[in-house]
């Protein structure tokens, strides 16, 4: 897969989170549940000072690598994130170097294929924070930018 290397500024995000594991049979349900909660329980609508209307799927606080437990956060980037809706968390996407991938296609299939291929790649990953940034709400022709945290040289 083609990627660029970009330096990102720190981002503050507000959203809903849960802990899971890629080997867990519950993983799909846990992540799917967060997305439903985010949109259906007025979480998205309640977030103040949204920087844009792009949803983020964030994978952070890895216990070790992609085989271990991690926290998934479904969120939006928000300004000061002072008053937040009930049941939400405030997280920080750390500044630093990221590999940026652009994927296009059916939202579920393209994202699943992406992670399958990423696990085959030998990137110097930090396993601190990775995230998906959804550019539109078209489910069949979704454009998603995925940022994978990279170690500084």
């Amino acid at each position: 897969m083609k990627y660029e290397v970009v330096n990102l500024e720190e981002k503050k995000v507000v959203g809903v989170s849960a802990r899971t594991n890629n080997n867990s049979p519950e993983m799909g349900r846990v992540i799917g549940g967060l997305w439903s909660k985010f949109y259906q329980e007025e979480i998205y609508a309640g977030i103040q000072e949204k920087v844009n209307n792009k949803a983020l799927g964030i994978y952070t606080d890895y216990e070790g690598n992609e085989k271990d437990d991690y926290t998934v956060v479904v969120a939006c980037e928000a300004g000061q994130a002072e008053a937040v809706p009930e049941g939400t968390v405030v997280k920080t996407i750390p500044a630093g170097k990221y590999a940026k991938f652009v994927i296009v296609g059916d939202v579920h299939q393209a994202v699943a294929d992406f992670w399958g291929k990423l696990w085959q790649m030998e990137l110097p990953r930090t396993f601190v924070c990775d995230f998906e940034e959804y550019q539109n709400s078209d489910m069949e022709q979704a454009e998603i930018h995925v940022y994978i945290g990279l170690k500084e040289e």
Binding site: M1, K2, Y3, E4, V5, V6, N7, A99, I103, V104, G105, M121
Partner: protein
């Protein structure tokens, strides 16, 4: 030490035979520019060439600027390459109907010492020399193309379909299937400058992504 010439050092990548062969293409660094339209006539393609060659040349000449990148070595600029597809349907290189409908990525490989910082520096240098050329479409991209089948095409670009059909026949005979997708496209490497070479003497590497047949 002599100049690094990628075409000569990596003969497996750049000098295939006229008989198709399987290759695993490792990660490389490219400057890429995406665009659309007929490469023979569109202004967009012309501008892409100007940006690609301009930035590649700035990087090659960066040794003269007092901003020599860490790890710099002398090299021959690698050849122009192109990825080709069409909107909505995967392009197999065979059924060429309307060249105006082409979507493409034009690209030139860069030496291993080229980082995002070296690339940004080259953009600045180039912008000073040619302030009217827009470099915003150029990206520095890392890409491991992976498992492919490739062949050398001799002659005019318009005669490629016959070579591609031969390539595709080899793909299926060897137990593979063509794996063209949004990320892995029909790929050509141009070993000559078509403005300076007679069509019958053109050499072009044609590469298709493949995967094992299940």
């Amino acid at each position: 030490m002599g100049k690094m010439d990628y075409k000569k050092v990596y003969k497996d990548l750049y000098m295939p035979k006229t008989k198709p062969a399987v290759i695993e293409v490792p990660e490389m660094t490219f400057i890429m520019v995406d665009g659309k339209g007929n490469p023979n006539t569109s202004q967009e393609y012309k501008e892409a060439m100007e940006v690609l060659y301009g930035l590649s040349w700035s990087i090659k000449m960066s040794k003269m600027s007092g901003m020599k990148p860490e790890g710099y070595f002398e090299y021959v600029m690698p050849p122009l390459e192109g990825l080709w597809w069409t909107q909505g349907e995967p392009f197999d290189g065979i059924h060429v109907k309307d060249k105006d409908k082409f979507l493409w990525t034009a690209m030139i490989r860069q030496p291993e010492f080229v980082t995002q910082e070296v690339f940004e520096q080259a953009k600045e240098t180039f912008a000073k020399k040619k302030p009217n050329v827009d470099t915003s479409k150029a990206r520095l991209v890392f890409w491991a193309e992976g498992l492919c089948m490739q062949v050398m095409h001799l002659g005019s670009y318009d005669d490629e379909p016959v070579t591609i059909q031969k390539l595709e026949a080899f793909v299926s005979e060897s137990g593979y299937v063509c794996d063209i997708s949004d990320d892995r496209q029909h790929h050509e490497i141009y070993l000559n400058n078509p403005d300076k070479t007679a069509p019958e003497h053109l050499k072009t590497v044609i590469r298709h992504p493949i995967r094992k047949k299940k």
